[in-house]
């Protein structure tokens, strides 16, 4: 469980996040949505500890991030998995080496054990015949799978995903969304996803936080988002005719 308590962040006096409080629950896919520039990425970076908040607290299982020393932060980071928007795979390493890397860095297992565990995860994310390929030689969807595999190989407590299905075709995007949700359930981890993909909202939004100009404007789940009368949310989520019609059908039912 991750708790954000009244967090604010500004850059050069310009407020980016304004007193945001929320709880990201364990075993759930928690989505942060909002327009570009609403503060989603800054919020995610604050949660990851890559940016320090100006005020407020971020608590991991009730342990405040700010009070953790370097060693405690290092331990916490080993409990985190992150899937980046551009996958951020190490381009000098093969797919298998990318996935083995965190284990080589932080476990005392031998190479055979590490390889075996990496291959279990590779199988789990349905990567076929890609072990010895370089990131440049695989498709965008496969890169995301490798990034997910690398993020979960250390059995993390927390999984963070920044726009996990951006740049993917709709079918692959849904497959990646479903994979993230399955992994969240299977490993019982706290997953936080930063997205503005409405398909993801409808498919896997077990908890959704809507940010508007750095403030939390709405909080709910994928069912509640159909019924909400919050104008900011409806303007954002149902901006396309397709989703307007989806909502109409849902509400008629």
């Amino acid at each position: 469980m991750i708790k954000a308590d009244n967090i604010s962040k500004s850059f050069e006096g310009i407020p980016i996040l304004n007193k945001i409080s929320t709880v990201f629950e364990k075993g759930k896919t928690n989505l942060i949505i909002g327009q570009s520039g609403s503060g989603k990425t800054v919020f995610l970076k604050c949660l990851l500890g890559l940016l320090e908040t100006d005020s407020g607290k971020i608590l991991f299982e009730n342990n405040p991030l700010k009070k953790m020393n370097t060693k405690e932060r290092s331990v916490l980071r080993q409990e985190m998995g992150m899937v980046f928007q551009g996958s951020a795979l190490f381009d000098s390493m093969t797919v298998e080496e990318n996935i083995m890397f965190p284990m080589q860095m932080f476990t005392k297992k031998n190479d055979a054990e590490i390889r075996e565990q990496a291959n279990v995860v590779i199988k789990r994310v349905n990567l076929i015949n890609a072990n010895n390929k370089l990131p440049d030689e695989i498709s965008g969807g496969m890169k995301k799978r490798v990034a997910i595999a690398r993020a979960i190989v250390m059995n993390p407590k927390y999984l963070f995903c920044d726009e996990p299905n951006s740049g993917l075709d709709p079918k692959t995007a849904i497959l990646i969304d479903n994979l993230i949700q399955e992994i969240t359930d299977e490993y019982n981890i706290t997953t936080v996803i930063n997205t503005h993909d409405m398909n993801s909202v409808m498919e896997i939004g077990e908890k959704i936080i809507f940010l508007l100009e750095g403030k939390k404007a709405w909080e709910g789940n994928k069912d509640e988002i159909f019924n909400t009368d919050n104008e900011a949310v409806t303007n954002f989520v149902y901006s396309s005719n397709l989703f307007k019609k989806v909502r109409e059908v849902y509400l008629k039912k």
Binding site: S74, R77, Q78, M82, A88, F90, D91, Q104, M105
Partner: protein, 233 residues
């Protein structure tokens, strides 16, 4: 940054691989161009000296002497380092810069890795072998001078060798290697800094490489002046 480089250390097994990879790329990978440039510039220095010795009273062994002094004191340590600032420096900046823009450094940080140590320390260690490159450059520079001078008909082999051995001060070689060690540190750290702290996209990687080359060259030239002032005056 330097303090963090020597902070929390990466696992030795991984670090060893990174160091060997950097030795291969930065040191062994530079031998070809350094050898080529040293041999031919040594030759040109020797020819230029020979052509400027118009007075028949001046002994021909001065060609070997001047070539040795030019190559050992300045050409090999300083000018090869400027060339290396272009070759090795821009490689370091662009490789670290690309990792920055593609979020690979963020990925390492989130894993709890000391990215300064992981990325920069192996480069400092591998460039500690840089004096070997300069050693090769010194030898090939003088050898190139010998070939150009003797086979170009400017002096005899005996005269050139006599000149190379004439008034030899061993400390001059020591001075050249002391300079080289400082230059190696500049070659590893300045480009790493520009790569690590760059912001923007692919175009900015190119800009950062250029800026890094300029600053590394400036620092090498200033260090050269300071060390020469301290050690030779």
């Amino acid at each position: 940054m330097i303090q963090s480089v020597f902070g929390k250390f990466t696992k030795w097994k991984i670090l060893k691989q990174l160091i060997l990879k950097d030795v291969d790329t930065l040191i062994i990978g530079s031998m070809g161009i350094v050898s080529f440039i040293s041999f031919f510039v040594g030759g040109v220095v020797s020819i230029q000296t020979a052509l400027n010795l118009e007075n028949p009273l001046l002994p021909k062994n001065l060609i070997g002497f001047a070539t040795r002094q030019s190559v050992i004191l300045e050409f090999a340590p300083t000018f090869i380092s400027i060339i290396m600032a272009g070759k090795v420096g821009s490689y370091i900046t662009s490789s670290i810069g690309t990792m920055r823009v593609t979020e690979q450094i963020d990925a390492l940080e989130i894993m709890g890795i000391n990215t300064y140590n992981y990325l920069i320390f192996p480069k400092i260690v591998s460039l500690s072998l840089y004096p070997l490159v300069i050693c090769v450059s010194m030898f090939l520079g003088v050898f190139g001078g010998y070939i150009a001078c003797v086979y170009g008909g400017f002096s005899t082999s005996a005269d050139f060798i006599e000149g190379v051995q004439m008034d030899f001060v061993p400390f001059h070689v020591g001075y050249a290697f002391i300079k080289t060690i400082f230059f190696a540190f500049a070659l590893a750290t300045i480009p790493s800094y520009h790569g690590y702290y760059m912001t923007g996209g692919a175009l900015d990687v190119g800009k950062a490489s250029t800026v890094s080359f300029v600053w590394t060259s400036v620092v090498i030239i200033l260090l050269n002046y300071l060390i020469t002032q301290l050690l030779l005056t």
